[in-house]
């Protein structure tokens, strides 16, 4: 070919080649110079993985430092950065290797690591480590597992932890009930971040310890619960008997013990193995998960009579000496005949004797003079019919304090309803916590405390228009219940301390009478107020009073030993000093 002929054509070809290479160079310039930083960031995002450092959850302790909830560990098998096909193959391989029930983990695109099986045993860990890890991108993760060393003790207060529904395999445990739920935020802490260099198969190649953002541990939670009192209360009320015990610091409302029976073991809710036990607890007809202290509502029986007594003293209807018509075992009010539990009657009684013997007839006379509105007004002042606002989850029940309107709308109003209410029967419903607070108020000079389970004591409110003189009479009445010759609560006696109390035997539909006992001590300046209810227990004085006694005894035994510890004096002298004699 002749060079001169082809000159325009070679120029054409060179121009085309030049154009194509210019396109490439311009594009390279755009990628590598103009927008290089964006791509550098993307390449860093590729290789640098943020890994979460789970913050250790705060401990839950009793006020004396006994640990009620702590952290253990369990192992979880995870699969990292896999496709759906890959995932299924890996799941099959795992199942084949370890056997047992099908692998529950489900495929998700949301996170780079999928938890296949949680809380596995050491055998599984070994199999994964030795055999499966070579072929599959599996990892063994150590997860924190809540542990409740005291098992059932205070289970309803502490609550339990569980997984949010629908994402059981992936999620963290969260507080579901009790203080675990209520204080979830402070207990949980703040998770940290660890930066690692990973390859496309998510294998860790390098760590960046300097970049690490450490986790902040959850705050420990100290409860107002006293371990010894709680334990004494737990032991006093057998697990087979449904019922509840509430012990408050009578001055502050701090919950010293709160028992609900039957109880449950919160440990089974955080295990992946105890499915059956869990279902058994959830489906049990005795409702072990129900916190009877705050969610159980009962007619309080004769323990409520002191409302009538306070109202009558304040309104001048009676005094310590006045008597009504003698108790003959029954009384006709309107169409209804009310009976005293003592069939042959108590005879003529004044207020102190009426409380001591728990005579119904005396209070029926008294109620007729009081009227519905006055009685209800005083019951309301002592906190019945409303939630106590205790810091627990779920919140406590308000119960039911019926008014005249309530009856008008339901069965129709008759004087008979008030007759029932004044002796703690009929439509009224109370929680053991409400009853304990009422008891504390009777003992502490008329201050309605705010029951609380943790944190500083909320303010107490003085109950309006209840005089010290009235409360002094009430205390004397209640002291006679324990120490009087005819007292119904003599079994509430505690060594070295003067106790005041009131028994109750409440009729409830479809079961034996509920046994009640409320008490506070020491009589003149109470530090503890206790309410006990035993469902279907029968006589309050016989069944509930001894339980209250044991709870109070635990409280004062502690004070005695504290005195012993604090004193430098020789042991023999100290013992001699503390006892006032029974």
């Amino acid at each position: 070919m002749s060079e001169t002929d082809q000159e325009p054509r070679i120029r054409g070809l060179v121009a085309v080649v030049g154009l194509l290479f210019t396109i490439l160079v311009l594009r390279l310039f755009y990628l590598q110079i103009a927008t290089s930083e964006d791509y550098l960031r993307e390449s860093d995002d590729n290789r640098i993985d943020k890994m979460r450092i789970k913050a250790p959850r705060g401990l839950i302790m009793a006020r004396d430092g006994e640990i009620l909830a702590q952290n253990g560990a369990f192992y979880t098998i995870s699969l990292i950065r896999s496709t759906k096909g890959n995932f299924e193959a890996a799941v099959n391989a795992l199942h084949e290797a370890i056997g047992g029930p099908p692998i529950a983990g489900r495929y998700t695109k949301k996170s780079s690591s999928i938890r296949l099986k949680r809380d596995v045993d050491f055998r599984t860990v070994a199999i994964v480590e030795e055999v499966l890890k070579d072929e599959w991108p599996m990892a063994i993760e150590i997860e924190a597992k809540r542990n409740y060393p005291a098992d059932r003790l205070a289970a309803h207060l502490i609550g339990y932890m569980g997984l949010p529904q629908e994402q059981e395999q992936a999620a963290d445990f969260l507080g579901i009930t009790g203080v675990e739920k209520l204080y979830e935020h402070t207990l949980r802490g703040i998770d940290g971040v660890r930066f690692v260099e990973v390859d496309a198969r998510n294998r860790i190649r390098r760590d960046f310890p300097d970049e690490e953002k450490p986790s902040v541990s959850g705050q420990n939670l100290v409860l107002t619960i006293d371990y010894d009192i709680q334990r004494a209360a737990e032991h006093a009320l057998p697990d087979s008997v449904p019922g509840s015990v509430v012990a408050l610091d009578a001055r502050t409302g701090a919950v010293l013990a709160m028992v609900s029976k039957p109880a449950f073991d919160p440990n089974i809710f955080i295990s992946f193995q105890d499915q059956e036990q869990r279902l058994q607890v959830i489906n049990s007809p005795t409702e072990p998960l129900l916190n009877r202290a705050t969610k159980g509502t009962y007619p309080p029986g004769s323990t409520l009579k002191l409302i009538g007594a306070v109202a009558a003293l304040e309104t001048g209807i009676t005094d310590t000496l006045s008597t009504f018509e003698a108790c003959a075992g029954s009384l006709q009010v309107g169409d209804t005949t009310f009976r005293c539990f003592k069939r042959d009657g108590h005879g003529e009684l004044n207020l102190l004797e009426a409380v001591e013997t728990s005579c119904n007839i005396y209070f029926l006379h008294l109620a007729q003079l009081l009227g519905m509105e006055t009685w209800r007004d005083y019951a309301q002042r002592f906190g019945f019919g409303e939630s106590t606002g205790i810091n627990l989850y779920p919140e406590d029940e308000a119960g039911l304090l019926p008014d005249r309107q309530y009856y008008v709308e339901t069965e129709g109003w008759t004087q008979g309803h008030l007759m029932n209410l004044v002796i703690g029967q009929g439509s009224i419903l109370t929680t053991p916590l409400q009853v304990a607070r009422y008891t504390a108020a009777l003992g502490n000079g008329g201050h309605l405390v705010s029951p609380h389970i943790a944190g500083p004591a909320p303010a107490t409110t003085a109950i309006q228009d209840v005089s010290d003189a009235t409360l002094d009479v009430i205390r004397r009445c209640m002291r006679r219940v324990v120490y009087g010759k005819r007292g119904t609560g003599r079994r509430a006696w505690v060594a070295d301390v003067e106790v005041a109390g009131k028994s109750g035997t409440a009729q409830v539909p479809n079961r034996n009478d509920d046994a009640w006992f409320v008490s506070f001590a020491p009589y003149d300046d109470p530090t503890i107020a206790v309410a006990v209810v035993v469902e279907g227990g029968g006589s309050g004085g016989l069944v509930a009073a001894p339980i209250a006694s044991k709870v109070m005894d635990a409280h004062f035994a502690q004070q005695r030993s504290a005195l012993l510890r604090e004193d430098d004096r020789p042991l023999s002298l100290a013992v001699a000093d503390t006892g006032n004699g029974p």
């Binding site: 070679i10 490439l24 390279l28 496309a200």
Partner: protein
């Protein structure tokens, strides 16, 4: 005549240098993977040595022999392509023929033999004859037969690369640029009537193209029947495109769109391109350093030692490294064009231009793919990508260019 003195050593040297860059990059792309008895870079080194020997051997073949065996070579590679379709090996696509221990990829050899045959066919015809319809038709058939066979494997990328040499060679052989435009214009009609590209402007763009192209053809040629038939052909090409696109099912459309814009499918095909762009872009001006590319080392870049070898260079050696690699290619291409330009013999001259076109096409399509301006075709990058057949074919091309250079004064 001293053949050795007449050998273009700079061309051979540049090709060898490029191959060494390739071997080095293959080492970097694979050193992190598990050790095998023979590392890939060592295999590639062996291939390269063998390929250089072949290239030198090609230089020494007798002057007139190549011209004589052009058609027999074409026929034998035609036979091999047929054999691939019947007895070929490969997972999804049949690309390889196995003879005992040796596995060859006939499509790589067909690239060379097609160019040789086309060079002879067009070389035998004078510049005036080139512009006759039957010559164009003959050359087109000669090219399209191997293209069709390779496309059947299926290996669309290689098939297109086989066909890509036709136009430059026709042009070099003396075809009028207007006729070349006429050959291309139905393809342009397809592009300009594709509504996924032009959206609402499609009717205007296509209309403008038809009017302008028809006017240009008529003005430059002044033959009414030709103008009318070209306008008809262009219009039909465009309308058929619109009709076919309308008739296609969603998954077929998706497949074509993914081919055109891989990043629309980030899970599969798009992953490759996205990672390649990240690799190259993150390399910056001077790169992350040899063996230091995180995209490469941590296996985010698939096929790093074959199709995406340029991405490794871009990541580890940066813009500078990429420019060096492109400069090597530019030098090879320009040198090939120069050899074609100075060769007195029409067959040799066309041969050199054909080889230069092939090289250009491969470099542009492969590098273009790694930086997201060309679709994913699976074409290797000459001299750099791992693969014996490709290396052998490219060094044979160099050998042929050296042969042409040595005989450039012969008529």
């Amino acid at each position: 005549m001293n053949l050795l003195r007449e050998t273009d050593t700079t061309l051979l040297g540049t090709a060898a240098l490029t191959a060494i860059l390739g071997i080095t990059t293959i080492y970097s792309a694979t050193f992190h993977t598990e050790a095998v008895s023979t590392p890939l870079y060592a295999k590639q080194l062996r291939f390269a040595i063998f390929a250089v020997i072949v290239a030198l051997a090609v230089v020494y073949i007798p002057n007139k022999l190549l011209y004589g065996i052009a058609y027999p070579l074409y026929l034998s590679s035609f036979g091999m392509l047929l054999a691939v379709l019947m007895w070929g090996t490969g997972e999804d696509v049949k690309r390889w023929l196995t003879f005992g221990l040796v596995t060859v990829q006939p499509s790589e050899l067909a690239k060379i033999t097609t160019i040789i045959a086309l060079a002879r066919y067009l070389g035998d015809r004078s510049g005036d004859e080139i512009n006759l319809a039957r010559t164009v038709l003959g050359g087109t058939c000669l090219t399209l037969i191997p293209v069709a066979l390779v496309a059947r494997q299926p290996d669309l990328g290689t098939a297109v690369s086989l066909g890509a040499v036709l136009l430059p060679m026709l042009y070099w052989a003396g075809m009028r640029p207007l006729y070349i435009f006429c050959m291309v214009s139905p393809l342009l009609s397809v592009v300009f009537s594709f509504e996924e590209v032009w959206r609402v402007a499609t009717p205007f763009v296509f209309g403008a193209f038809i009017i302008l192209s028809t006017a240009a053809i008529h003005f430059l040629l002044s033959r009414l029947w030709f103008t009318v038939s070209m306008a008809t052909a262009n219009l039909s090409a465009g309308l058929i495109t619109v009709y076919l696109w309308d008739q296609m099912r969603a998954y077929q459309k998706a497949r074509i769109l993914t081919f055109l814009n891989p990043e629309s499918d980030p899970q599969n095909t798009g992953w490759t391109i996205i990672q390649s762009k990240i690799a190259i872009g993150s390399g910056g001006l001077s790169g992350k350093g040899f063996l230091e590319g995180t995209q490469t080392r941590f296996e985010f870049l698939p096929e790093a030692h074959t199709d995406l070898i340029f991405s490794v260079i871009g990541e580890e050696l940066g813009f500078i490294g990429a420019l060096v690699a492109l400069s090597l290619f530019l030098f090879l291409i320009c040198r090939a064009l120069y050899i074609g330009y100075v060769a007195k013999n029409r067959f040799f001259s066309l041969l050199a231009i054909g080889l230069a076109s092939m090289l250009t096409f491969h470099v542009f399509v492969n590098v273009g793919m790694t930086i997201g301006v060309m679709p994913v075709t699976g074409l290797p990058l000459p001299f750099l990508s791992y693969g014996g057949s490709s290396l052998l074919a490219n060094f044979t091309a160099i050998g042929l260019l050296l042969h042409v250079y040595s005989n450039r004064h012969e008529y």
